[in-house]
Symmetry: D3
Subunit: 305 residues, 6 copies
């Protein structure tokens, strides 16, 4: 009987569990699992997303078995469980990226299951995509965010929470990229040209607010393995104050929930909700929203079963 060694595993990792599900057992058949990746050292402004998995687990305590809007019992159908957290390396982005990539690949190569990942900042999506690529080859990415996230570098560094999408495209991990919710001011007009150069299909918040059907139609027309990445800052800070680089003028919680409910994929291979920073949250509303987004994502996946 020993404590977990804090010299090996950072203190802000590991359990209570998502939706009060059991921790995953080795020999269990599962179709989906919750996984925490509590890394936040690649954020460019407010930190705290390291407490994201902890907060989302806490915020998931009210989730119940039946989703009446999609007529499904997601946890039952998916035999869902909680995988705990990846033991990241604080202060070392590139080491952490290796740990994430290896851990996740190990998980998804051992079982045919879909990870539902709670960040952590958005830099984690790059090593996730590398692991996904290793198993599935190129995937579509569906990306909800208020920022483009395809900047080239910050402070002379290639790996931050604002550069992962460019890296993923440069590394040829991506088949099609669709992003929606963009609204932040940008560093330059070149950013708009970059989305053409990089081949990203990008919808602003205005596009999304004014014609949500068109956006969903484009997303739902994607074929083949698809990964969904939701930066919680696509939602307005009134609904999601607990985040690192909030941008006003975003989605409501009703809108993001309804969007996720309406997504349909022939092959969903992964899903993340990132940038939830509990130290900036109030009364757990951001954590609860993130937990519900994951719940709706699991529900959508369960419809194929």
């Amino acid at each position: 009987m020993r404590q977990i060694d804090a010299l090996k595993s950072p203190r802000f990792t590991q359990v209570s569990t998502f939706a009060r599900l059991p921790l995953c057992a080795k020999d269990e058949e599962i179709k989906a699992a919750f996984l925490g990746i509590p890394f936040d050292d690649a954020t460019t402004y407010r930190p705290g997303a390291r407490f994201g998995p902890m907060g989302i687990r806490q915020g998931s305590r009210l989730l119940r078995p039946y989703n009446q809007f999609l007529d499904t019992y997601p946890f039952d159908k998916l035999n869902a469980c909680d995988l705990g957290d990846v033991n990241i390396v604080p202060g070392y982005i590139e080491d952490t990226m290796n740990v994430i990539q290896n851990n996740l690949y190990e998980i998804i190569s051992a079982k045919d299951m879909v990870p539902f990942i709670a960040g952590g900042d958005h830099s984690i999506t790059l090593p996730i995509l590398r692991a996904i690529y290793r198993k599935y080859g190129k995937v579509n990415i569906v990306h909800f965010d208020s920022h483009y996230d395809f900047w080239d570098s910050y402070w002379g560094k290639k790996y931050t929470h604002g550069t992962w999408l460019r890296r993923a495209i440069e590394e040829s991990l991506i088949k099609n990229a669709v992003q929606a919710g963009i609204r932040a001011s940008t560093f330059s007009k070149e950013d708009l040209k970059d989305k053409e150069r990089l081949g990203v299909s990008s919808f602003t918040i205005r596009d999304l607010k004014n014609n949500i059907d068109a956006v969903i139609k484009e997303i739902n027309s994607l074929t083949g393995p698809t990964y969904i990445s939701i930066d919680i800052d696509v939602v307005d800070p009134a609904f999601a104050p607990g985040t690192g680089t909030p941008e006003v003028g975003g989605l409501t919680s009703f809108e993001i929930i309804e969007i996720v409910r309406r997504l349909r994929f022939d092959k969903l291979v992964g899903f993340d909700v990132v940038e939830v920073s509990p130290p900036y949250d109030v009364s757990e509303i951001t954590s609860m929203l993130a937990a519900n987004i994951i719940y709706e994502g699991m529900s959508v996946l369960s419809l194929n079963l």
Copy 2:
């Protein structure tokens, strides 16, 4: 019975009563009064609604005499006042229910007035309905909430904030029940069948967001004595973080205010706003919203005078 004049005495001065109205005097003719029921031991998650009446009184300090949207002076027309609080019994649900029922019956049998009640958790609505029934017979209930509240029991107990509506129907206190705003995940698909079995006309948040006119039309077609019960969690946690079992994806404050303004009844016999939990509120926004909802409710009532 007049508010303290904010043009003479600043709003942050003097002892708190609802809208800075006087406490009710015994021999006064009144048509409506504010009543606090600070009981929260029947909540299934976050407590604190015991401070609801206190918070709502505080949050009502900015209310002014004239409602320009309904062209009425509600306090003047109703000769409104503040009745103080019911002396509930913490930790004893069933004793408290008796106290509430008896106190409220005493109040409404003595005078022909309409109580505007601030909870407290939603369990208080059952004894309120019993008192209402004793005076008026069966009533219609108009229920705004994110939860069905007709579960059978929790922890082997029949009386919680999630079971009151089933109890009220079983006790034959209800004529017609209309509920709107439902969106929480549920324990089972049976919950949907229960709404048929119990004869509850139930609108989800989607129904409400997509066709508010239809919902209001159905409510306004009710005839006879009608009671309104508003669980503040029908509103989104961005607008009402101060509550016990928040559910994301709810109404905006503009929507709930507009809904209440549009309600019309031939006989409104009572009105409650429950589940306001100030310890989880931020900058009093939930309390202010609840105070405004009561103000709009009083305004609607005053239109009949």
Copy 3:
């Protein structure tokens, strides 16, 4: 005059100025500047707007050079900078009004530039308008607020944050007044008649929510010098909790941002955002919103250049 480059120096470093712009230098050609007026003793309820300029500077750290919605680089085009704060006199409204009027007149008479002012409570707009009048003669005022702000007096005093618009009209400073977003309960039905008497074109929140195009059309048809004054409480307290007299049922952050983006003037002569009270804010969301409103205002101005 350039922002500190966030791609070289992280956003949480260095001393706070608006948008990390430099402080204005005496001999610089500028077309717009940020100015703080941290006076809050004329508020009728919650104070704290004295920390408004400080909060808005802090909340502006994420602003980037390019506005993709208006296709402009506002700071570059305007050669924008930060003028610091006016040294107001706490507890002395009328002395403060003189200081503001004189300081601002000195600034705008020395250079042909447009001040973007962060309050402070709304009482500051009166001395601002006096200074503006001295340079430009009568101006149009475009006023977003949840309150009429043309009451005659409070506590026997003519100068508060709720009386400035009446004073400005009485002093013949105003050509046309258009206000929008009104929703607070009022002291009397006379308030509605006053808007006719005073010649204010007034739109309620309902008008704004239901027909935003009509409101913008009326505003954009104004000709000649125009001043914009935005009380942050026109926005709902969910999006802007940090304010002194919040009123539920207001605009979303998306709505106010879109409104400002759509305004067009032949001659914009000043712009303020008032009533931001950081002690009541949560996670800086109100400050960030106010900073973005000023950014959009600068962007609109820059379109004429």
Copy 4:
């Protein structure tokens, strides 16, 4: 005049008065009463003390009838009650000072009672002392604070929360002045000479921490009418974060409570606790401390009866 019985009515119920005492009735014989003076426009840094009386009433809900440390029932012995608040004039210091002076004189000239006053910022003590002087002639002042409060002026103005003591001495209202707890950095070494010039007996926090007996002995040797003024910032911000100009390194709550308990006067004529600013408080700890200080002050007074 009795408190609402907390053994019958839970403490979180009913309208807030100080210690749940009744509001004072005109024809009642009382020996002490609580009075709120919610003015905060003379503060030089963080406002919010206008909510001090409200906060202290709320923080007093746990006070019970018997003080075991002084073996007294203060409320019973004093027939204590709550006088409500003075209707101050926000933004007008000098008008407010007149209102305070007149109101208080009216109260203490009508009845032979001792006011226990909750501020508001420290500027209110000057008009209080003028009213006291008018009734009793020169009084001793016992002043606990982290600041000297005898500066000459701020921003060219004579009346602020940092100048009241100099004004009171200049106006010849004071017999002897003893102050303790001083620790803030000062504007100049002249401040130390001023205390000699003004004849103030001044103890630093070090004096108080190192030899509390000496300080109490000096205070208790005062004869004739004596007024006590306690700026809550004499207490460390860990114990009293809710204040306007906090200074680290102060008293603990145990120390201030014990000091008050040990004070003895042949004639106590008034008592105030000022600078409690609830917007900066956490979990009401400052308000609760202030309420307890007033309770101990009333207890000391009751010993003479």
Copy 5:
């Protein structure tokens, strides 16, 4: 793979774990374990102690294996683990007391181990003592608190967080009772006589502050089975704001930690820390303190091994 059924087990119960220890396994030899009892419906003022076990587990994440002040590895020596929470019945005090008593007796009768219990409000100590009595017969109780907790009843009810000690004495569960830290105002002078009548050796906060050695000497002279109960409100609200009925003028965190470290018993049979209410906590300081108190208690116990 199923969620824990929220209809049987309240949502605010169950794990992350104390000090990141493993959950207890059935067949493991253990000498001490952490147990949560998240019941708070017997509180007379602020609720929230139902989140106490959750908060304390969270606040225990920084605890490390070696206690240098007592030169011991408590977790190793005790083979400590986390037993999870008792499934209490919200809103039903007496049912809950039965559940607690039965659960705890089952635990301590099966194994010779010492429970370290996190409340919950102080009412839980009564059923704990009943279970302890059933195994060990009469025990000494060492009780740190700011309140006597031997009142007879509240609101006509015998079971609240302020009556448990009287009940325990009446039920003859107690051998010797020593309490320390008492300072709250009381309902009557009779309370002091009651301590004589009930045979409680009671030290005030003054006794404790002025002569801590005497108090510890008396406690350490107790012989036979001894139970320790620490109401976190014995600590000053500056150090422990997260509690239900705070009383100013209490212990510092250094004092309570040092006191616990100095306790020595020939037979410690149980230990609780109660009244930690996370909704009122700031930055987890109360939870961290409670976790450290339990850690020191385990350390003291481990010295006998």
Copy 6:
């Protein structure tokens, strides 16, 4: 180089620099300057210290020119100013260490001045010491902390906020090391042996509380260049909640302030206050304390001039 005069310009106005001092000008003779190092990616638990310099600047607004306890005008004597922040590299510890080392060396080699540094987490002290060493050779370090900070590694990494002191000793940068305030539980009993092996003179919090004179005597007997490093968590979380790895049972603010005031050195070459994390602060009390500690440090330095 003078502070903005708070008697002319209220303290809540103007852009934040430390103590409202001017930014340092290149050609100015200065003897001390404030420098921010906002790096927090080496923390092992709660982040946020990147906002430390910003928070401390804000918390320093109340500092006035004259220190009456040391009879000195520190800013005047030192001609003090604010150097802004070092542009660290988020997420890259080792790059950041190089940037810090080079920047600081550049500063102190150009002028004979003493840097007063605000962190950032404690990892920054290692590159600071390297720069100091390069100028002065080996220095004494005086280290106040609740943790030893001489662990060997975390997660396989040598550079964290808990390993800097061991690294500094291994790199032979240190002449004598004295640390005080130690109290956290540790990973192993080996930690106590390490302090012998590493030659660190270490005082626990008990040593400090029980015999402060002895500790100060040992520190003040150091000769030659000396560097002071104060981890704010040496102070109790009641006084300094805004930090990353708080440990209960620490110093009061009065104690730390008095300790700093009593330090005397023949050659003070640098001073830091680290681990201030504003997201976890309440009402700026931690930031204010840190600002005051720096103020006292500057005052002590000024005594030699």
